[in-house]
């Protein structure tokens, strides 16, 4: 009986994963040391047959304005996001630079790749980009 219940939960979970819904991810840039991040560029890849991007939102200061992107990227399966700031002052190791809203199966998680990140002098810095899932009420 328990096994049947477990199987039922698992199948419901799989169905839920495959069901289309609105969901969002924060784009986080993590640097290897405290830095005042002043420019970043990432590439996000997703399954265009199942998912589309519904909106691009800004992140925390100094990247509160929405990042630049090519509108074709909303449905093309790949989008390049980039932003810079001349007001970057605070040195830290983690920056929430944007939020990306999608419509598609929750199980279809996009992939992100950092293209470049730079400090206030425009010098490339070591960093990595990641997507952090956002709960609906956030």
């Amino acid at each position: 009986m328990r096994i049947l219940a477990l199987m039922l939960i698992l199948s419901l979970n799989l169905v839920a994963q495959d069901q289309k819904d609105f969901h969002a991810y924060e784009i986080i840039i993590q640097t290897d040391k405290n830095t005042a991040l002043s420019a970043w560029q990432v590439e996000v890849v997703y399954d265009k047959t199942k998912t589309k991007i519904t909106a691009i939102e800004g992140g925390d200061k100094p990247f509160s304005n929405p990042a630049d992107y090519d509108a074709r990227g909303l449905t093309a399966g790949k989008i390049i996001l980039a932003s810079f700031s001349l007001k970057s002052k605070d040195s830290r190791r983690e920056f929430k630079v944007a939020k990306i809203h999608l419509y598609g199966p929750k199980g279809d998680i996009p992939k992100i790749k950092l293209i470049v990140a730079a400090d206030v002098k425009g010098k490339k810095i070591k960093a990595k980009a990641l997507l952090r899932s956002v709960k609906k009420n956030e």
Binding site: A39, Q41, D68, G73, A82, S83, L86, G122
Partner: protein, 166 residues
């Protein structure tokens, strides 16, 4: 015939009647003719007696074969070199054409000149405009001013999916 015959007349196999009668009277010419006949006999004798040893034959054949092989190898190398050079030239030409095709418009937005168009170019141009130190090369729309319109061109090129300027 009072005059001596030419040497050519004595060298022929069949002497003419005049020469024959001259030889009867002229001891000098008669002696020369006798010497010629002797020499002829000696040469015939020599030809019939001389035999080229087999080893010499083989050596000569080897020498000829070696020379022939060397010439063939040299020709092959020359042809190979010519073919490789031709292929390399075609490849180089193709690469140049493709590179030039790729590198026309988007590289206008390469503000920092690192060969790539990315957000660092947007940042540099924005900093130049902000500090009022613009570079005349960065007048991308050609309106004589370097301002936010030029910056927008770079920003669009940075995120463009096909790498082209809008």
């Amino acid at each position: 015939m009072n005059e001596h015959p030419d040497i050519d007349e004595l060298l022929v196999k069949e002497l003419s009647g005049e020469v024959k009668s001259h030889l009867k009277d002229c001891d000098v010419c008669s002696q020369v003719h006798a010497d010629i006949e002797l020499l002829d006999i000696d040469l015939k004798d020599l030809n019939s007696k001389v035999e080229i040893p087999k080893t010499v034959d083989e050596k000569v054949y080897e020498d000829i074969s070696y020379t022939s092989k060397t010439i063939r190898k040299s020709l092959f190398r020359r042809n190979l070199l010519a073919s490789v050079s031709a292929i390399a030239a075609v490849l180089l030409l193709s690469i140049t054409v493709v590179t030039n095709l790729k590198a026309d418009k988007p590289l206008l937005a390469d503000i920092n000149g690192d060969g790539e168009v990315n957000v660092l170019d947007s940042l540099m141009l924005a900093q130049n405009i902000d500090s009022n130190t613009p570079n005349s090369k960065n007048d991308l729309n050609g309106d004589g001013q370097i301002n936010s319109q030029d910056l927008q061109i770079v920003r669009d090129a940075v995120v463009s999916l096909d790498g082209s300027l809008p």
